[in-house]
């Protein structure tokens, strides 16, 4: 403790608290009341501080909003950990189930114009799918036909065709093609295994940007009866 303090008596506060130079309580309250009131009228001259405070407030508020929305996982009551992987309920079930009912709807929308809702086709123009050996057996055959289409001379169920089937499947998703193939392979007396979306994905990848098949090429890769 330095000497300046020692002789001054302020180390030993007496009655009346801070001593004669201090503000009296009444004066203290009055002075501050006036400051608070006067400042509300802008006539008192221009100070940068209030504007600075407003800006500061805006900046903090903006940050707070941003931080809250980014770090609250949609304000969900069941999100506890920022580092946990996001559960993806909207993308659908993780396990694919081939569904003939969905397949039927998709068939009616995408194939029935040519092959007919009955699957019997139109004699001379569109070959039948009912009891067709092309539909049964190796699933890759029908997947390939749907994906890139087929054109050329061919004999199906004893009748000759020379038509042109476009790449209908190019615009469909793997799962949709799997549903259609599953439906076609189980309808109208057909009885072949269902088709999974991963098989479609595999074939699509292998084909790349290939053009239409000729019936000969298909039969070389996937002979009938298998």
């Amino acid at each position: 403790m330095n000497d300046r303090n020692r002789h001054s008596d302020r180390n030993r506060p007496r009655q009346g608290g801070p001593g004669p130079e201090g503000f009296s309580d009444g004066r203290l309250v009055e002075v501050h009341s006036h400051i608070a009131r006067d400042k509300q009228e802008p006539a008192q001259g221009f100070s940068m501080t209030p504007i600075f405070v407003v800006f500061l407030f805006c900046a903090f508020g903006f940050w707070a909003g941003l931080y809250l929305t980014r770090n609250s996982r949609g304000f969900s009551a069941s999100a506890f950990d920022l580092d946990a992987p996001v559960a993806s309920a909207s993308v659908g079930p993780a396990v694919f189930e081939p569904d003939a009912a969905k397949g039927e709807k998709l068939y009616l929308a995408n194939c029935a114009a040519c092959h007919q809702p009955t699957g019997m086709g139109l004699p001379g123009a569109f070959p039948p799918l009912a009891n067709s050996p092309w539909v049964a057996g190796d699933e890759k055959r029908i997947i390939k036909i749907i994906l890139v289409g087929m054109a050329g001379e061919v004999e199906i169920a004893g009748a000759k065709y020379n038509g042109n089937m476009p790449n209908v499947g190019a615009a469909l998703k793997d799962a949709q093609i799997a549903h259609i193939a599953t439906y076609v392979r189980s309808a109208w007396g057909n009885a072949a295994e269902p088709v999974m979306d991963v098989s479609v994905a595999e074939v699509r990848k292998a084909l790349g940007s290939r053009g239409q098949y000729s019936p000969k090429e298909i039969l070389e890769a996937h002979p009938l009866g298998k």
């Binding site: 801070p18 130079e21 203290l28 400051i35 707070a64 770090n71 609250s72 069941s78």
Partner: protein
């Protein structure tokens, strides 16, 4: 003795006297708890387990010392500022009496049966209502004094003290209901508890201490505060955001993410009132040799130190709420150090400062021993620094060397508090025997 001070004398003496006793008791508990952490320890007696001593010290310190001291000082301060003459002082005295009885029961129960799961709420369920009613009797006088002030004038110190008193009662009742009486689900309990603790620390204790700051800085320096027109913004933002800092204590625990994030936002938003309060108070202190005048006034020396610590601890809380920093500091002694910075180096220093001015006025006497004041100042300053530094130094892991520093600091604090308490008793009791006339300053 003035018309305002005279009727305060009985309740003030009772409340502040109990405060000084609790402070001494809390220091003893805390010293024993620190000694238990030394390699030699105190042995395995159940009553002296570190956890029990620490919980008892915390309760005695917060409710016993700070609580009683704030009853007395808040009543005194707002009576001065509002020209309020208390008529039913006996109500405050009765409230204080029951508050202290309930608290004694709580302390015995913590030592004998062990502390509960929730710090600061770990007393027998029956004690809660007694404490609440006692608080209403002893702690709400600032509201009355403010409401009855004769002129329309008002001052920031009044807002802070009134806000602090109301905030505590509200937080206490709500916490009692959700945690003790009708326990809500586990998550809600944890959130309610953290919110209660922060309300006690920042609103009741911190708010009152800031009120003292607004009063004494202006009064002792005899100048208006810097940029005072911002004080109302400071007050509202402080009281608005303080409660929201609570969930930051729960970062990383299984409470919903948005609650945790709200805690982080609350901690950072507290920088706004800190900046404004700093502008008001530290701004006034920094003008025209304010700091050296503060050093020369016993009251303001304690208070300027306390204010700086409070503001620093809130800045630290904002920094440590950052998720990465928090992950590193979460289960370390960092929060302990920060708590001491806020509650001891901050709030308690402000309370000491205020009592050096208030006691002589109420009792009409004077502080008998200058040596005791010096001892008190240096022992509590060094003790506080030692405690905070040893807590921060052990963030990486407990070490026996720092445990010695912590125990030594606790011993220093006890020494300082003994000096303060004996000096305060002499002032409170001795004052009446040699009444001196003194000029009314108001």
């Amino acid at each position: 003795m003035s018309r305002i001070d005279a009727p305060l004398r009985v309740p003030f003496t009772l409340l502040f006297g109990s405060a000084a006793l609790w402070l001494t008791l809390a220091s003893v508990f805390s010293l024993l708890a620190k000694v238990q952490l030394l390699p030699s320890g105190l042995g395995a007696c159940e009553w002296f387990a570190h956890g029990r001593l620490e919980a008892a010290a915390r309760n005695a310190f917060v409710y016993g010392w700070a609580g009683n001291a704030l009853f007395a000082l808040n009543l005194w301060l707002l009576s001065q500022l509002g020209r309020f003459e208390i008529r039913n002082g006996w109500m405050a005295a009765i409230g204080g009496l029951f508050w202290n009885l309930a608290l004694t029961w709580c302390t015995v129960s913590v030592i004998v049966h062990g502390p509960g799961a929730y710090a600061l709420l770990d007393f027998p369920a029956g004690a809660g209502p007694v404490l609440a009613v006692s608080f209403a009797l002893a702690g709400l006088w600032p509201v009355v004094a403010y409401a009855k002030r004769p002129t329309g004038h008002n001052f920031a110190a009044q807002w802070f003290v009134v806000g602090a008193s109301v905030a505590f009662l509200l937080a206490f009742v709500l916490a009692q209901v959700t945690v003790v009486w009708a326990p809500a689900s586990g998550v809600v309990q944890a959130v309610a508890h953290s919110w209660y603790v922060r309300s006690v620390e920042l609103l009741w204790l911190g708010g009152s201490a800031l009120g003292f700051g607004y009063y004494f800085v202006s009064k002792v320096l005899a100048r208006p505060l810097h940029a005072y027109y911002l004080a109302s913004v400071a007050f509202w933002t402080y009281f608005l955001f303080a409660g929201w800092t609570a969930p930051a204590a729960l970062i990383g625990s299984p409470v919903p993410l948005w609650v945790q994030s709200a805690g982080v936002v609350g901690c950072v938003m507290m920088l706004v009132p800190v900046l404004l309060i700093g502008l008001n108070l530290l701004g006034a202190l920094s003008k025209e040799g304010g700091w050296s005048r503060a050093w020369n006034s016993t009251s303001l020396r304690f208070i300027s130190l306390g204010l700086t610590s409070i503001l620093a601890s809130i800045v630290l809380a904002a920094w440590s709420s950052d998720r990465a920093v928090n992950a590193a500091l979460r289960f370390t002694s960092f929060s302990e150090g920060q708590g001491v910075l806020l509650l001891y180096a901050g709030v308690t220093m402000c309370v000491f400062g205020a009592s050096y001015a208030a006691l002589p006025r109420v009792s009409g006497g004077r502080w008998p021993s200058a040596a005791a004041i010096h001892t008190h100042f240096w022992a509590s300053l060094l003790g506080a620094v030692g405690t905070v530094v040893s807590a921060f130094a052990q963030v990486g892991g407990r070490s026996p060397d720092w445990a010695f520093v912590a125990a030594g600091s606790s011993a220093l604090l006890l020494l300082g508090h003994l000096a303060f308490a004996s000096n305060a008793f002499a002032t409170l009791i001795g004052g009446g025997e040699s009444p001196q006339s003194h000029p009314a300053h108001d």
